[in-house]
Protein backbone atom coordinates (compact mmCIF):
# COMPACT_ATOMS: atom_id res chain seq x y z
CA UNK A 1 0.00 0.00 0.00
CA UNK A 2 1.40 3.33 -0.97
CA UNK A 3 1.89 6.10 1.55
CA UNK A 4 -0.64 8.19 -0.29
CA UNK A 5 -3.33 5.56 -0.12
CA UNK A 6 -2.66 5.06 3.56
CA UNK A 7 -2.98 8.78 4.05
CA UNK A 8 -6.31 8.80 2.26
CA UNK A 9 -7.64 5.92 4.30
CA UNK A 10 -6.50 7.47 7.57
CA UNK A 11 -8.07 10.79 6.72
CA UNK A 12 -11.27 9.06 5.80
CA UNK A 13 -11.31 7.15 9.10
CA UNK A 14 -10.67 10.29 11.12
CA UNK A 15 -13.43 12.16 9.37
CA UNK A 16 -15.80 9.21 9.64
CA UNK A 17 -15.23 8.86 13.38
CA UNK A 18 -15.70 12.58 13.91
CA UNK A 19 -18.89 12.47 11.92
CA UNK A 20 -19.99 9.53 14.05
CA UNK A 21 -19.55 11.59 17.22
CA UNK A 22 -21.57 14.44 15.76
CA UNK A 23 -24.21 11.97 14.63
CA UNK A 24 -24.30 10.48 18.13
CA UNK A 25 -24.98 13.82 19.71
CA UNK A 26 -27.49 14.84 17.10
CA UNK A 27 -29.18 11.46 17.38
CA UNK A 28 -29.38 11.62 21.16
CA UNK A 29 -30.55 15.20 21.29
CA UNK A 30 -32.99 14.48 18.50
CA UNK A 31 -34.33 11.42 20.27
CA UNK A 32 -34.82 13.24 23.55
CA UNK A 33 -36.33 16.31 21.98
CA UNK A 34 -38.60 14.44 19.58
CA UNK A 35 -39.84 12.18 22.34
CA UNK A 36 -40.01 14.80 24.99
CA UNK A 37 -40.73 18.16 23.52
CA UNK A 38 -44.30 17.36 22.54
CA UNK A 39 -44.92 16.71 26.21
CA UNK A 40 -43.55 20.04 27.36
CA UNK A 41 -46.06 22.76 27.93
CA UNK A 42 -46.79 25.26 30.64
CA UNK A 43 -48.85 22.74 32.58
CA UNK A 44 -46.06 20.17 32.51
CA UNK A 45 -43.51 22.68 33.72
CA UNK A 46 -45.59 23.94 36.61
CA UNK A 47 -47.94 21.17 37.72
CA UNK A 48 -47.22 18.78 40.53
CA UNK A 49 -46.30 15.22 39.66
CA UNK A 50 -49.03 12.60 39.88
CA UNK A 51 -48.45 9.25 41.51
CA UNK A 52 -50.88 7.09 39.62
CA UNK A 53 -52.84 9.36 37.35
CA UNK A 54 -51.64 10.66 34.01
CA UNK A 55 -50.95 14.30 33.37
CA UNK A 56 -48.52 15.02 36.17
CA UNK A 57 -45.98 17.77 35.86
CA UNK A 58 -42.52 18.55 37.10
CA UNK A 59 -43.08 21.95 38.71
CA UNK A 60 -41.71 21.18 42.18
CA UNK A 61 -38.82 19.19 40.73
CA UNK A 62 -37.82 22.04 38.49
CA UNK A 63 -38.04 24.43 41.41
CA UNK A 64 -36.00 22.06 43.60
CA UNK A 65 -33.26 21.77 41.00
CA UNK A 66 -32.99 25.52 40.69
CA UNK A 67 -33.21 26.11 44.43
CA UNK A 68 -30.62 23.47 45.19
CA UNK A 69 -28.37 24.94 42.53
CA UNK A 70 -28.68 28.43 43.97
CA UNK A 71 -28.07 27.24 47.52
CA UNK A 72 -25.05 25.26 46.39
CA UNK A 73 -23.61 28.21 44.53
CA UNK A 74 -24.13 30.48 47.53
CA UNK A 75 -22.09 28.08 49.64
CA UNK A 76 -19.54 27.14 47.01
CA UNK A 77 -18.66 30.39 45.34
CA UNK A 78 -17.14 32.18 48.35
CA UNK A 79 -15.39 29.03 49.54
CA UNK A 80 -14.16 27.95 46.12
CA UNK A 81 -12.95 31.38 45.16
CA UNK A 82 -11.26 31.74 48.55
CA UNK A 83 -9.39 28.49 48.16
CA UNK A 84 -8.57 29.28 44.53
CA UNK A 85 -7.11 32.64 45.57
CA UNK A 86 -5.03 30.92 48.18
CA UNK A 87 -3.63 28.57 45.55
CA UNK A 88 -2.93 31.33 43.05
CA UNK A 89 -1.75 34.15 45.30
CA UNK A 90 -0.70 32.95 48.73
CA UNK A 91 0.56 29.40 48.34
CA UNK A 92 4.33 29.16 48.12
CA UNK A 93 5.63 26.42 45.90
CA UNK A 94 6.44 23.61 48.25
CA UNK A 95 5.25 20.40 49.73
CA UNK A 96 2.09 21.85 51.21
CA UNK A 97 0.97 23.41 47.96
CA UNK A 98 1.70 20.22 46.08
CA UNK A 99 -0.38 18.21 48.51
CA UNK A 100 -3.25 20.70 48.43
CA UNK A 101 -3.24 20.43 44.67
CA UNK A 102 -3.40 16.67 45.05
CA UNK A 103 -6.35 17.06 47.43
CA UNK A 104 -8.20 19.15 44.87
CA UNK A 105 -7.48 16.63 42.16
CA UNK A 106 -8.58 13.65 44.23
CA UNK A 107 -11.66 15.44 45.51
CA UNK A 108 -12.77 16.29 42.01
CA UNK A 109 -12.35 12.69 40.87
CA UNK A 110 -14.26 11.03 43.68
CA UNK A 111 -17.18 9.06 42.27
CA UNK A 112 -20.38 10.94 42.95
CA UNK A 113 -21.95 7.91 44.56
CA UNK A 114 -19.21 7.73 47.18
CA UNK A 115 -19.66 11.38 48.04
CA UNK A 116 -23.40 10.78 48.18
CA UNK A 117 -22.90 7.93 50.62
CA UNK A 118 -20.66 10.13 52.73
CA UNK A 119 -23.47 12.67 52.74
CA UNK A 120 -25.95 9.98 53.79
CA UNK A 121 -23.75 8.86 56.63
CA UNK A 122 -22.53 12.19 57.92
CA UNK A 123 -25.02 14.85 56.91
CA UNK A 124 -28.29 12.93 56.78
CA UNK A 125 -27.71 10.59 59.70
CA UNK A 126 -24.95 11.86 61.99
CA UNK A 127 -25.75 15.56 61.75
CA UNK A 128 -29.40 14.72 61.38
CA UNK A 129 -30.06 17.15 58.57
CA UNK A 130 -32.27 14.40 57.15
CA UNK A 131 -33.01 14.05 53.47
CA UNK A 132 -33.01 17.71 52.76
CA UNK A 133 -32.10 20.53 50.46
CA UNK A 134 -29.32 21.39 52.88
CA UNK A 135 -27.77 17.91 52.80
CA UNK A 136 -28.01 17.94 49.01
CA UNK A 137 -26.47 21.37 48.73
CA UNK A 138 -23.57 20.47 51.01
CA UNK A 139 -22.84 17.32 49.04
CA UNK A 140 -22.99 19.23 45.78
CA UNK A 141 -20.61 21.72 47.39
CA UNK A 142 -18.12 18.91 47.84
CA UNK A 143 -18.31 18.29 44.10
CA UNK A 144 -18.34 21.83 43.04
CA UNK A 145 -15.64 23.25 45.27
CA UNK A 146 -12.67 21.58 43.56
CA UNK A 147 -14.00 22.77 40.22
CA UNK A 148 -14.35 26.30 41.54
CA UNK A 149 -10.86 26.17 43.00
CA UNK A 150 -9.39 25.14 39.68
CA UNK A 151 -11.35 27.69 37.72
CA UNK A 152 -10.42 30.47 40.13
CA UNK A 153 -6.77 29.55 40.32
CA UNK A 154 -6.51 29.38 36.56
CA UNK A 155 -8.34 32.66 36.12
CA UNK A 156 -6.07 34.44 38.59
CA UNK A 157 -2.95 32.99 37.03
CA UNK A 158 -4.08 34.26 33.65
CA UNK A 159 -4.25 37.85 34.87
CA UNK A 160 -1.13 39.63 33.55
CA UNK A 161 1.56 39.73 36.22
CA UNK A 162 2.10 43.43 35.57
CA UNK A 163 -1.30 44.17 37.09
CA UNK A 164 -0.18 42.76 40.38
CA UNK A 165 3.17 44.51 40.21
CA UNK A 166 1.50 47.82 39.58
CA UNK A 167 -0.61 47.33 42.67
CA UNK A 168 2.33 46.27 44.78
CA UNK A 169 4.38 49.24 43.64
CA UNK A 170 1.63 51.55 44.81
CA UNK A 171 1.83 50.16 48.29
CA UNK A 172 -1.49 48.33 48.23
CA UNK A 173 -2.05 45.44 50.57
CA UNK A 174 -2.07 42.07 48.90
CA UNK A 175 -5.71 41.55 49.74
CA UNK A 176 -6.65 44.89 48.21
CA UNK A 177 -4.77 43.96 45.05
CA UNK A 178 -6.59 40.63 44.92
CA UNK A 179 -10.05 42.00 45.46
CA UNK A 180 -9.87 45.28 43.59
CA UNK A 181 -7.43 44.68 40.78
CA UNK A 182 -7.08 40.98 40.04
CA UNK A 183 -10.60 39.78 40.80
CA UNK A 184 -12.35 42.07 38.30
CA UNK A 185 -9.98 40.86 35.58
CA UNK A 186 -10.37 37.22 36.56
CA UNK A 187 -14.12 37.43 36.99
CA UNK A 188 -15.25 36.67 33.42
CA UNK A 189 -13.32 33.40 33.43
CA UNK A 190 -14.60 32.55 36.89
CA UNK A 191 -18.18 33.22 35.88
CA UNK A 192 -17.89 31.15 32.72
CA UNK A 193 -16.42 28.29 34.72
CA UNK A 194 -19.09 28.60 37.38
CA UNK A 195 -21.91 28.43 34.90
CA UNK A 196 -20.43 25.35 33.26
CA UNK A 197 -20.04 23.74 36.68
CA UNK A 198 -23.62 24.72 37.44
CA UNK A 199 -24.72 22.66 34.45
CA UNK A 200 -23.05 19.66 36.00
CA UNK A 201 -24.71 20.26 39.35
CA UNK A 202 -28.02 20.52 37.61
CA UNK A 203 -27.64 17.06 36.12
CA UNK A 204 -26.22 15.31 39.17
CA UNK A 205 -28.39 12.51 40.46
CA UNK A 206 -26.46 9.69 42.11
CA UNK A 207 -25.29 11.73 45.08
CA UNK A 208 -28.67 13.36 45.56
CA UNK A 209 -30.50 10.02 45.77
CA UNK A 210 -28.88 9.59 49.17
CA UNK A 211 -29.00 13.16 50.40
CA UNK A 212 -31.77 15.34 48.98
CA UNK A 213 -34.12 12.40 48.86
CA UNK A 214 -36.67 11.04 46.43
CA UNK A 215 -39.65 13.03 47.60
CA UNK A 216 -40.97 16.52 47.79
CA UNK A 217 -43.57 17.66 50.28
CA UNK A 218 -46.49 19.60 48.91
CA UNK A 219 -45.13 23.05 48.28
CA UNK A 220 -47.12 26.13 49.07
CA UNK A 221 -45.70 28.94 47.00
CA UNK A 222 -47.38 31.56 49.14
CA UNK A 223 -45.53 30.46 52.26
CA UNK A 224 -42.05 31.92 52.39
CA UNK A 225 -41.36 31.19 56.02
CA UNK A 226 -38.20 29.08 55.78
CA UNK A 227 -39.06 27.00 58.84
CA UNK A 228 -42.43 25.88 57.58
CA UNK A 229 -42.53 22.41 56.06
CA UNK A 230 -44.49 23.41 53.01
CA UNK A 231 -42.43 26.46 52.29
CA UNK A 232 -40.51 26.08 49.05
CA UNK A 233 -37.43 27.65 50.59
CA UNK A 234 -37.27 25.51 53.73
CA UNK A 235 -33.75 24.08 53.52
CA UNK A 236 -34.62 21.12 55.71
CA UNK A 237 -37.34 19.66 53.57
CA UNK A 238 -36.58 16.80 51.21
CA UNK A 239 -36.29 17.81 47.61
CA UNK A 240 -36.42 15.55 44.61
CA UNK A 241 -34.60 17.24 41.76
CA UNK A 242 -35.35 16.92 38.08
CA UNK A 243 -32.59 14.42 37.38
CA UNK A 244 -33.57 12.30 40.37
CA UNK A 245 -37.15 12.50 39.15
CA UNK A 246 -36.12 11.07 35.79
CA UNK A 247 -34.44 8.21 37.55
CA UNK A 248 -37.44 7.60 39.77
CA UNK A 249 -40.09 7.90 37.07
CA UNK A 250 -38.05 5.64 34.86
CA UNK A 251 -37.81 3.02 37.52
CA UNK A 252 -40.77 3.36 39.87
CA UNK A 253 -43.29 5.28 37.81
CA UNK A 254 -46.84 4.04 38.35
CA UNK A 255 -48.63 6.58 36.22
CA UNK A 256 -49.61 5.52 32.71
CA UNK A 257 -47.63 8.33 31.11
CA UNK A 258 -44.39 7.61 33.02
CA UNK A 259 -42.42 7.11 29.81
CA UNK A 260 -43.57 10.42 28.40
CA UNK A 261 -42.78 12.17 31.68
CA UNK A 262 -39.29 10.69 31.69
CA UNK A 263 -38.78 11.83 28.11
CA UNK A 264 -40.22 15.26 28.79
CA UNK A 265 -38.12 15.69 31.93
CA UNK A 266 -35.01 14.57 30.05
CA UNK A 267 -35.76 17.09 27.34
CA UNK A 268 -36.15 19.84 29.93
CA UNK A 269 -32.93 18.79 31.62
CA UNK A 270 -30.99 18.70 28.37
CA UNK A 271 -32.44 22.05 27.33
CA UNK A 272 -31.37 23.51 30.66
CA UNK A 273 -27.85 22.19 30.18
CA UNK A 274 -27.84 23.63 26.66
CA UNK A 275 -28.94 26.95 28.08
CA UNK A 276 -26.19 26.81 30.68
CA UNK A 277 -23.64 26.14 27.96
CA UNK A 278 -24.80 28.97 25.77
CA UNK A 279 -25.10 31.27 28.76
CA UNK A 280 -21.55 30.49 29.80
CA UNK A 281 -20.17 31.31 26.35
CA UNK A 282 -22.26 34.43 26.03
CA UNK A 283 -21.58 35.70 29.54
CA UNK A 284 -17.89 35.02 29.18
CA UNK A 285 -17.62 36.98 25.99
CA UNK A 286 -19.80 39.83 27.21
CA UNK A 287 -18.07 40.20 30.55
CA UNK A 288 -14.66 39.99 28.98
CA UNK A 289 -15.54 42.81 26.67
CA UNK A 290 -17.06 44.81 29.48
CA UNK A 291 -14.15 44.43 31.84
CA UNK A 292 -11.31 44.77 29.45
CA UNK A 293 -12.00 47.37 26.87
CA UNK A 294 -13.87 49.80 24.79
CA UNK A 295 -17.47 50.52 25.54
Amino acid sequence: MSAKLKDRIATFVIIAFSALIIALLVGMLGYILVKGISHIDWHFLTAEPETIKAGGGIGPELFNSVYLLILTLIITIPLGIGAGIYMAEYAKEGRITVSIRLVVEVLSSFPSIVVGLFGLLVLVNTFNFGFSVLSGALVLTIFNMPLMVRVTEQAFRNVPREQKEAGLAMGLSRWKIITSILLPVALPAIITGTILAAGRIFGEAAALLFTAGLTTPKLDFTDWNPTSLHSPINPLRPAETLSVHIWKVNSEGLSPDAAEIAAGSSAVLVLMVLIFNLLARWAGRLLYRKFTSIK
Binding site: L79, F129, G130, P235, L254, P256
Partner: protein
Protein backbone atom coordinates in the same frame (compact mmCIF):
# COMPACT_ATOMS: atom_id res chain seq x y z
CA UNK B 1 -21.29 2.41 64.66
CA UNK B 2 -19.44 4.96 66.69
CA UNK B 3 -16.86 7.32 65.40
CA UNK B 4 -14.30 9.30 67.30
CA UNK B 5 -16.26 11.99 69.03
CA UNK B 6 -13.61 14.57 68.36
CA UNK B 7 -13.72 13.85 64.65
CA UNK B 8 -17.44 14.37 64.56
CA UNK B 9 -17.03 17.50 66.60
CA UNK B 10 -14.37 18.87 64.31
CA UNK B 11 -16.51 18.17 61.32
CA UNK B 12 -19.56 19.77 62.86
CA UNK B 13 -17.47 22.78 63.63
CA UNK B 14 -16.09 22.96 60.13
CA UNK B 15 -19.49 22.75 58.54
CA UNK B 16 -21.20 25.13 60.86
CA UNK B 17 -18.43 27.67 60.47
CA UNK B 18 -18.62 27.28 56.75
CA UNK B 19 -22.32 27.90 56.89
CA UNK B 20 -21.85 30.91 59.09
CA UNK B 21 -19.16 32.17 56.78
CA UNK B 22 -21.48 32.56 53.88
CA UNK B 23 -24.01 34.15 56.15
CA UNK B 24 -27.04 34.02 53.93
CA UNK B 25 -30.64 33.95 54.91
CA UNK B 26 -31.43 30.44 53.96
CA UNK B 27 -28.56 29.04 55.85
CA UNK B 28 -29.02 30.98 58.99
CA UNK B 29 -32.61 29.92 59.08
CA UNK B 30 -31.59 26.37 58.40
CA UNK B 31 -29.42 26.49 61.43
CA UNK B 32 -32.31 27.30 63.64
CA UNK B 33 -34.65 24.79 62.14
CA UNK B 34 -32.03 22.10 62.18
CA UNK B 35 -31.86 22.43 65.90
CA UNK B 36 -35.61 22.00 65.99
CA UNK B 37 -35.23 18.93 63.96
CA UNK B 38 -32.36 17.63 65.99
CA UNK B 39 -34.46 17.52 69.08
CA UNK B 40 -35.69 14.32 67.52
CA UNK B 41 -39.06 13.51 68.92
CA UNK B 42 -42.17 15.41 68.08
CA UNK B 43 -42.35 18.85 69.48
CA UNK B 44 -45.60 18.77 71.33
CA UNK B 45 -47.80 21.70 72.15
CA UNK B 46 -45.27 24.42 72.52
CA UNK B 47 -47.14 26.95 70.45
CA UNK B 48 -50.50 28.40 71.28
CA UNK B 49 -53.43 26.20 70.28
CA UNK B 50 -54.36 27.44 66.86
CA UNK B 51 -57.40 25.57 65.71
CA UNK B 52 -60.33 24.71 67.87
CA UNK B 53 -61.08 21.30 66.43
CA UNK B 54 -57.59 19.96 66.91
CA UNK B 55 -55.58 19.63 70.06
CA UNK B 56 -52.80 17.72 68.37
CA UNK B 57 -49.58 19.32 67.33
CA UNK B 58 -46.11 18.24 66.43
CA UNK B 59 -43.96 17.37 63.52
CA UNK B 60 -43.58 13.86 62.20
CA UNK B 61 -41.05 12.56 59.76
CA UNK B 62 -41.70 9.24 58.10
CA UNK B 63 -39.02 7.79 55.88
CA UNK B 64 -38.29 4.50 54.18
CA UNK B 65 -39.96 2.20 51.69
CA UNK B 66 -40.49 3.76 48.31
CA UNK B 67 -43.34 1.33 47.70
CA UNK B 68 -45.26 2.59 50.71
CA UNK B 69 -44.32 6.23 50.32
CA UNK B 70 -47.12 7.31 47.93
CA UNK B 71 -49.78 5.96 50.29
CA UNK B 72 -48.35 7.54 53.41
CA UNK B 73 -47.77 10.77 51.55
CA UNK B 74 -51.33 10.96 50.32
CA UNK B 75 -52.77 10.07 53.74
CA UNK B 76 -50.47 12.59 55.43
CA UNK B 77 -51.74 15.41 53.24
CA UNK B 78 -55.33 14.59 54.20
CA UNK B 79 -54.43 14.21 57.86
CA UNK B 80 -52.77 17.62 57.90
CA UNK B 81 -55.88 19.20 56.47
CA UNK B 82 -57.86 18.35 59.60
CA UNK B 83 -54.92 18.63 61.99
CA UNK B 84 -53.28 21.80 60.88
CA UNK B 85 -50.78 21.85 63.73
CA UNK B 86 -49.31 18.52 62.80
CA UNK B 87 -46.80 18.66 60.00
CA UNK B 88 -45.88 15.38 58.41
CA UNK B 89 -42.92 14.90 56.15
CA UNK B 90 -42.81 11.74 54.11
CA UNK B 91 -39.49 10.69 52.63
CA UNK B 92 -38.39 7.78 50.50
CA UNK B 93 -34.97 6.28 50.84
CA UNK B 94 -35.77 2.60 50.96
CA UNK B 95 -36.86 0.20 53.70
CA UNK B 96 -33.33 -0.16 55.02
CA UNK B 97 -32.90 3.56 55.39
CA UNK B 98 -36.28 3.92 57.08
CA UNK B 99 -35.46 1.24 59.61
CA UNK B 100 -32.02 2.71 60.22
CA UNK B 101 -33.39 6.15 60.82
CA UNK B 102 -36.27 5.13 63.07
CA UNK B 103 -33.99 2.89 65.07
CA UNK B 104 -31.49 5.75 65.52
CA UNK B 105 -34.31 8.09 66.54
CA UNK B 106 -33.82 10.40 63.58
CA UNK B 107 -37.36 9.98 62.32
CA UNK B 108 -40.58 9.11 64.09
CA UNK B 109 -41.81 6.53 61.61
CA UNK B 110 -39.82 4.06 59.56
CA UNK B 111 -41.68 2.60 56.60
CA UNK B 112 -40.71 -0.88 55.59
CA UNK B 113 -41.79 -3.58 53.16
CA UNK B 114 -40.49 -6.29 55.44
CA UNK B 115 -40.44 -7.21 59.10
CA UNK B 116 -37.73 -5.29 60.91
CA UNK B 117 -36.33 -8.55 62.25
CA UNK B 118 -35.42 -9.60 58.72
CA UNK B 119 -33.33 -6.51 58.15
CA UNK B 120 -31.75 -5.63 61.45
CA UNK B 121 -28.97 -7.95 62.52
CA UNK B 122 -29.03 -6.73 66.10
CA UNK B 123 -32.04 -8.47 67.71
CA UNK B 124 -32.17 -6.07 70.64
CA UNK B 125 -32.46 -3.11 68.30
CA UNK B 126 -35.16 -4.81 66.28
CA UNK B 127 -37.12 -5.53 69.45
CA UNK B 128 -37.24 -1.83 70.30
CA UNK B 129 -39.29 -1.13 67.21
CA UNK B 130 -43.04 -1.32 67.32
CA UNK B 131 -44.81 -2.62 64.23
CA UNK B 132 -47.89 -0.97 62.75
CA UNK B 133 -49.25 -2.84 59.75
CA UNK B 134 -51.13 -0.47 57.49
CA UNK B 135 -51.64 -2.27 54.21
CA UNK B 136 -51.04 -5.47 52.36
CA UNK B 137 -49.18 -5.66 49.12
CA UNK B 138 -49.60 -8.71 46.98
CA UNK B 139 -47.51 -9.67 44.03
CA UNK B 140 -47.73 -11.95 41.09
CA UNK B 141 -45.35 -13.49 38.64
CA UNK B 142 -45.57 -11.72 35.28
CA UNK B 143 -44.34 -12.98 31.95
CA UNK B 144 -43.85 -11.55 28.52
CA UNK B 145 -47.09 -11.80 26.60
CA UNK B 146 -45.55 -13.94 23.87
CA UNK B 147 -44.53 -16.92 25.99
CA UNK B 148 -48.00 -18.42 26.10
CA UNK B 149 -48.17 -19.29 29.78
CA UNK B 150 -50.96 -18.13 32.09
CA UNK B 151 -50.59 -20.49 35.02
CA UNK B 152 -47.57 -21.76 36.89
CA UNK B 153 -47.45 -24.07 39.84
CA UNK B 154 -45.26 -23.41 42.81
CA UNK B 155 -42.92 -26.18 41.68
CA UNK B 156 -42.71 -24.75 38.17
CA UNK B 157 -41.82 -21.35 39.58
CA UNK B 158 -39.15 -22.91 41.77
CA UNK B 159 -37.76 -24.77 38.78
CA UNK B 160 -37.66 -21.58 36.76
CA UNK B 161 -36.08 -19.41 39.43
CA UNK B 162 -33.52 -22.03 40.38
CA UNK B 163 -32.57 -22.59 36.76
CA UNK B 164 -33.80 -26.18 36.45
CA UNK B 165 -36.17 -25.19 33.67
CA UNK B 166 -34.73 -22.88 31.06
CA UNK B 167 -37.26 -23.12 28.27
CA UNK B 168 -40.91 -22.15 28.28
CA UNK B 169 -41.91 -25.30 26.44
CA UNK B 170 -41.10 -27.31 29.56
CA UNK B 171 -43.84 -25.49 31.47
CA UNK B 172 -46.41 -25.48 28.72
CA UNK B 173 -45.41 -22.49 26.65
CA UNK B 174 -43.61 -21.78 23.41
CA UNK B 175 -40.19 -23.05 22.52
CA UNK B 176 -38.33 -20.09 23.92
CA UNK B 177 -35.56 -19.52 26.42
CA UNK B 178 -36.51 -18.15 29.82
CA UNK B 179 -35.06 -14.81 30.86
CA UNK B 180 -35.33 -14.12 34.57
CA UNK B 181 -35.82 -10.54 35.65
CA UNK B 182 -35.13 -10.74 39.35
CA UNK B 183 -34.68 -8.28 42.19
CA UNK B 184 -31.46 -7.65 44.10
CA UNK B 185 -30.88 -9.81 47.13
CA UNK B 186 -31.71 -7.00 49.53
CA UNK B 187 -35.11 -6.32 47.98
CA UNK B 188 -38.20 -6.71 50.15
CA UNK B 189 -40.24 -7.69 47.13
CA UNK B 190 -37.84 -10.50 46.41
CA UNK B 191 -37.90 -11.63 50.02
CA UNK B 192 -41.70 -11.84 49.91
CA UNK B 193 -41.78 -13.60 46.57
CA UNK B 194 -39.20 -16.16 47.59
CA UNK B 195 -40.79 -16.80 50.93
CA UNK B 196 -44.41 -17.16 49.88
CA UNK B 197 -44.31 -18.05 46.19
CA UNK B 198 -41.23 -20.23 46.03
CA UNK B 199 -41.00 -21.23 49.66
CA UNK B 200 -37.23 -21.12 49.52
CA UNK B 201 -34.33 -18.76 49.02
CA UNK B 202 -32.86 -18.89 45.55
CA UNK B 203 -29.40 -18.18 44.32
CA UNK B 204 -28.84 -15.56 41.70
CA UNK B 205 -28.55 -17.26 38.37
CA UNK B 206 -25.81 -16.36 35.99
CA UNK B 207 -27.11 -14.02 33.34
CA UNK B 208 -30.26 -13.16 35.21
CA UNK B 209 -31.19 -9.51 35.21
CA UNK B 210 -31.71 -7.70 38.49
CA UNK B 211 -33.64 -4.49 38.86
CA UNK B 212 -34.77 -2.95 42.09
CA UNK B 213 -37.56 -0.91 40.63
CA UNK B 214 -40.93 -2.20 39.56
CA UNK B 215 -41.17 0.18 36.64
CA UNK B 216 -37.99 -1.17 35.09
CA UNK B 217 -39.03 -4.75 35.73
CA UNK B 218 -42.34 -4.14 33.96
CA UNK B 219 -40.64 -2.43 31.04
CA UNK B 220 -38.13 -5.25 30.65
CA UNK B 221 -40.71 -8.03 30.95
CA UNK B 222 -42.76 -6.26 28.32
CA UNK B 223 -39.84 -5.82 25.94
CA UNK B 224 -37.73 -8.90 26.47
CA UNK B 225 -38.86 -12.08 24.72
CA UNK B 226 -39.20 -14.95 27.16
CA UNK B 227 -38.97 -12.77 30.23
CA UNK B 228 -40.41 -13.56 33.63
CA UNK B 229 -40.46 -11.32 36.66
CA UNK B 230 -42.74 -10.44 39.53
CA UNK B 231 -44.61 -7.27 40.32
CA UNK B 232 -46.88 -5.86 42.95
CA UNK B 233 -50.51 -5.84 41.79
CA UNK B 234 -50.51 -2.09 41.46
CA UNK B 235 -47.91 -2.25 38.70
CA UNK B 236 -49.57 -4.95 36.65
CA UNK B 237 -51.30 -3.72 33.52
CA UNK B 238 -51.97 -5.05 30.04
CA UNK B 239 -48.38 -4.67 28.86
CA UNK B 240 -47.44 -7.82 30.74
CA UNK B 241 -49.16 -11.16 31.37
CA UNK B 242 -49.82 -11.93 35.02
CA UNK B 243 -49.70 -15.59 35.90
CA UNK B 244 -52.01 -17.68 38.08
CA UNK B 245 -50.33 -19.23 41.07
CA UNK B 246 -51.29 -22.85 41.44
CA UNK B 247 -54.41 -22.00 39.48
CA UNK B 248 -55.43 -19.11 41.71
CA UNK B 249 -55.98 -15.76 40.05
CA UNK B 250 -53.88 -12.96 41.47
CA UNK B 251 -56.73 -10.76 42.63
CA UNK B 252 -57.35 -8.73 45.74
CA UNK B 253 -60.30 -10.90 46.73
CA UNK B 254 -58.22 -14.04 46.61
CA UNK B 255 -55.63 -12.37 48.80
CA UNK B 256 -58.07 -11.21 51.45
CA UNK B 257 -59.73 -14.58 51.56
CA UNK B 258 -56.37 -16.24 52.06
CA UNK B 259 -56.42 -18.26 48.83
CA UNK B 260 -53.56 -16.42 47.22
CA UNK B 261 -50.51 -16.54 49.44
CA UNK B 262 -47.96 -14.23 47.79
CA UNK B 263 -48.41 -11.09 49.82
CA UNK B 264 -46.77 -9.12 52.62
CA UNK B 265 -47.62 -6.41 55.04
CA UNK B 266 -46.52 -2.84 54.65
CA UNK B 267 -45.14 -1.75 58.00
CA UNK B 268 -44.80 1.57 59.71
CA UNK B 269 -42.39 1.19 62.61
CA UNK B 270 -42.04 3.47 65.59
CA UNK B 271 -39.37 3.29 68.21
CA UNK B 272 -41.27 2.22 71.29
CA UNK B 273 -44.71 3.72 71.79
CA UNK B 274 -45.39 6.72 69.58
CA UNK B 275 -46.34 10.14 70.92
CA UNK B 276 -49.89 11.40 70.63
CA UNK B 277 -49.60 13.02 67.23
CA UNK B 278 -47.83 10.06 65.68
CA UNK B 279 -50.31 7.66 67.25
CA UNK B 280 -53.19 9.69 65.86
CA UNK B 281 -51.67 9.56 62.40
CA UNK B 282 -51.08 5.83 62.62
CA UNK B 283 -54.69 5.38 63.75
CA UNK B 284 -55.76 7.44 60.78
CA UNK B 285 -53.76 5.16 58.48
CA UNK B 286 -55.86 2.15 59.52
CA UNK B 287 -59.15 4.06 59.60
CA UNK B 288 -61.83 3.13 57.08
CA UNK B 289 -61.34 6.40 55.28
CA UNK B 290 -57.78 5.53 54.33
CA UNK B 291 -58.18 1.78 54.10
CA UNK B 292 -61.17 1.86 51.76
CA UNK B 293 -60.11 5.02 49.97
CA UNK B 294 -56.43 5.68 49.41
CA UNK B 295 -55.24 2.13 50.01
CA UNK B 296 -57.48 0.72 47.32
CA UNK B 297 -56.92 3.66 45.01
CA UNK B 298 -53.17 3.20 45.09
CA UNK B 299 -53.42 -0.53 44.44
CA UNK B 300 -52.69 -1.94 47.90
CA UNK B 301 -55.03 -4.26 49.74
CA UNK B 302 -56.69 -2.94 52.93
CA UNK B 303 -55.25 -4.64 55.96
CA UNK B 304 -58.68 -4.39 57.58
CA UNK B 305 -60.21 -6.62 54.88
CA UNK B 306 -57.80 -9.46 55.45
CA UNK B 307 -59.45 -12.56 56.80
CA UNK B 308 -56.11 -14.07 57.67
CA UNK B 309 -53.09 -12.75 59.56
CA UNK B 310 -49.50 -13.75 59.33
CA UNK B 311 -46.60 -13.35 61.74
CA UNK B 312 -43.02 -12.68 60.89
CA UNK B 313 -42.20 -16.35 60.60
CA UNK B 314 -44.89 -16.80 58.01
CA UNK B 315 -47.45 -18.65 60.14
CA UNK B 316 -50.90 -17.93 58.83
CA UNK B 317 -53.90 -17.84 61.14
CA UNK B 318 -57.50 -17.03 60.42
CA UNK B 319 -58.79 -13.90 62.04
Amino acid sequence: MKFGKSAVLALTLAFSVSLAACGNNNNSSSGSSSSNNASGSANTASSAPASAESTLSGSIIASGSTALQPLVDQAAKKFSETNSDVSIQVQGGGSGTGLTQVSEGQVQIGNSDVFAEEKIDDAAKAAELKDHQVAVVAMAAVVNKEVGVTNLTKQQLVDIFTGKVTNWKDVGGKDQGIVIINRPSSSGTRATFEKYALGQKTEDLKGSIQEDSSGTVKKLVNETPGAIGYLAFSYIDDTVQSVQYDGVDPTADNVTSGKYPVWAYEHMYTKGDPDAATQAFLDYMVSDEVQNGDVVELGYIPVSKMTVTRDKDGNVTNK
